[in-house]
């Protein structure tokens, strides 16, 4: 007897429509049998799964979401493992919404104090020698507190990390020929805010990039599609998205975002300007509100990062800051990158406070809230990176600890 071949498509269609299954009779002949569709079974071995598709999906059991407001949207740090932020969960901060830019219409103009004013299409940018690097991007207004029921996402979810690919800005500056007297450049976006920032040329010639790819695919619209500036380690606002123009100059332009905003009041009524490098910071992401933990072994986990280079050390305290122990850092530790840290701890079930503090290669130690308040005569604002402490209750619930560490020896 001739066996009839059934294509996969036919098979799928029939199965879906009729609830048919295929089976073989004792002679090996494929036969179809109508059977009731397996209802309500939670045994995955008793049910044919979904066939390959065009796009991957996230398990419906994983409820990962950003937390949007009118001005920003925060990454769910407490739900992450490792250090790469899934692109659709990258934080957002923009000043005029996400623009729609057609890649074939995209152009980057470089002019001002250059030998050859040029414009580059997206295709042009992609032809230049390319570079890939991993680094974090953080909004400098990334500190919230005020109640106990706060997640890492709510406290400092305006930081994310990606692998970026693009062309070094120094490569483009070489191509247009920057004039010797130049010392700054303006970066301008093509969003509704026509976002502008002045950047010292030195950063442009150091590790600045024009990136068109993020985590292996084109940069997402929310992150600057089709191309953005990327200034590793610097406050997110300076990495101008949807970049349309660079003007090379010999002085800063004093745009609104570097005067009225993204500046902070410090001692003696002064306002600190061009404070663009992100200071070292860490946050425990597990265990944190809203989880409940059990007595016994707990791996305390978190991330640490610094805009001035590599994280050299993260210390964890499980006794409200009286003693500190080094956490394990996940290798490789990268320059200006979220670095995962872990600290294995056997919890005896007694109420306590846990916290972490980061150190970077300049010798900087992440400060306590009181230290920042005293140093700046200010209770918040941009570039506020205090130690975050978590109160562990006797029943295993975890809450953001109020930031009162008076009595702790800071220098320990």
């Amino acid at each position: 007897m001739k066996q009839k071949k059934i294509s996969r498509r036919q098979l799928l269609g029939k199965m879906a429509a009729l609830g048919l299954v295929l089976s073989q009779d004792p002679l090996g002949k494929v036969i179809q049998q109508g059977v009731p569709l397996p209802q309500n079974t939670d045994d995955p071995t008793k049910k044919l799964g979904v066939f390959p598709g065009k796009l991957g999906t996230r398990s419906s059991a994983e409820q990962l979401e950003k937390l949007p407001t009118f001005t920003s949207s925060r990454s769910p740090l407490q739900n992450f493992y490792g250090t790469i932020t899934p692109s659709d969960l990258h934080f957002e901060r923009h000043h005029g919404g996400v623009p729609v830019i057609l890649p074939e219409k995209y152009e980057l103009l470089i002019h001002g104090m250059v030998e050859r004013p040029m414009k580059f299409t997206l295709t042009d940018l992609k032809r230049f020698p390319s570079v890939t690097r991993i680094c974090f991007l953080e909004c400098s207004g990334n500190f919230r507190s005020g109640k106990e029921e706060m997640t890492p996402q709510e406290i400092c979810g305006l930081t994310s990390q990606s692998e970026w690919t693009g062309v070094m800005l120094s490569t483009l500056f070489r191509e247009v020929g920057v004039k010797p007297k130049a010392s700054w450049f303006l970066a301008e976006g093509s969003d509704a805010a026509v976002m502008t920032r002045s950047i010292p040329l030195e950063k442009g010639l150091d590790d600045a990039m024009i990136v068109y790819a993020q985590n292996g695919e084109a940069v997402r619209p929310e992150q600057g599609y089709p191309a953005r500036l990327l200034l590793p380690g610097w406050e997110g606002n300076t990495s101008v998205k949807w970049l349309r123009r660079i003007e090379v100059a010999d002085a800063p332009f004093m745009t609104r975002e570097e005067t009225s905003k993204y500046t902070e009041t410090v001692k003696d009524g002064k306002v600190r300007q061009f404070s663009v490098v992100m200071d070292a910071r860490s946050i425990i992401t597990f265990p944190t509100y809203p989880v409940t933990v059990e007595k016994g072994w707990i791996e305390i986990r978190g991330i640490a990062w610094s805009g001035r280079g590599k994280i050299t050390k993260v210390e964890v305290s499980v006794d409200a800051g009286r003693s500190w122990y080094p956490a394990r850092l996940q290798e490789p530790v990268l320059d200006k990158a979220h670095t995962a840290f872990r600290f294995l701890w056997e919890w005896n079930g007694k109420e306590t406070v846990i916290m972490s503090r980061a150190f970077d290669e300049t010798g900087y130690r992440q400060p306590f809230y009181e230290e920042l308040v005293a140093a700046r005569e200010s209770k918040g604002g941009y570039h506020f990176n205090p130690v975050t402490a978590w109160a562990l209750k006797g029943d295993g619930r975890v809450f953001l600890d109020n930031n009162d560490f008076s009595g702790i020896s800071w220098e320990k």
Binding site: G96, E202, S260
Partner: protein, 208 residues
């Protein structure tokens, strides 16, 4: 020694220098201009890729930008007034435009919101133009590029001048009869100017 060999040597030196964990630049802000040598030597670009010494002088990708290309996009205004268009700003005209196009989001007197407070007079007021903005030119630049929030880029230069004059007046910086223009806007003295200092932190143990 050929230029090429020289570049390669510099590249090699930089490589060794970096490899020893010693970094010349830590992303810190230095406000001095890089030297011509830094810009023109291939070695400058050889930080992590010594093969750059083999790069052609130019790749030749991209197109020359014409003057028209530049004029179409070059809208920025410098603190010295560079880039300001012709026009005059009058307080009274500005008030009328403000009532029509800005009041809904910034309030009757610029203090009521719901969005950014635009008027402040003393140190104790909320941060705004009068007590926090160091340059008057920024006002023209920002209003023209981004306001009204829901109709960006819809104001003409003349309207922007009037609004700039009106907001400077409301903040107690110019009087009601002042007329501002491309020549005098950069000379307007902003009360907050002397408060601004450059960040000079470079990491290290001190908390500031």
């Amino acid at each position: 020694m050929s230029h090429r060999t020289f570049s390669l040597m510099i590249a090699a030196c930089l490589f060794l220098y970096n490899a020893c964990g010693e970094r010349d630049r830590k992303g810190d802000l230095r406000f001095s201009a890089p030297t011509m040598k830094e810009i023109s030597e291939d070695a400058t670009y050889s930080k992590e890729d010594s093969s750059r010494a083999n790069w052609p002088e130019r790749f030749g990708f991209g197109k020359k930008a014409s003057t028209a290309d530049i004029i179409a996009l070059d809208i920025d205004i410098g603190p010295d007034g560079k880039g300001l268009p012709e026009g005059t700003g009058r307080v009274k005209n500005g008030m009328l435009i403000y009532r029509q196009k800005c009041i809904a989001c910034h309030g009757a007197t610029g203090k009521e919101g719901p969005y950014d407070v635009l008027v402040s007079k003393g140190e104790s007021d909320k941060k705004a133009i009068g007590n926090y903005w160091p340059y008057a030119t920024t006002l023209f630049d920002y209003i023209r590029r981004a306001m009204p929030f829901d109709a960006p880029g819809s104001l003409n230069d003349q309207e922007v001048y009037h609004l700039t004059a009106y907001l400077l007046y409301e903040n107690g910086i110019i009087d009601s009869m002042s007329v501002i223009n491309a020549r005098n806007l950069s000379k307007v003295e902003m009360p907050a100017r002397s408060r601004f200092v450059l960040d000079d932190r470079k990491g290290g143990p001190e908390v500031r």
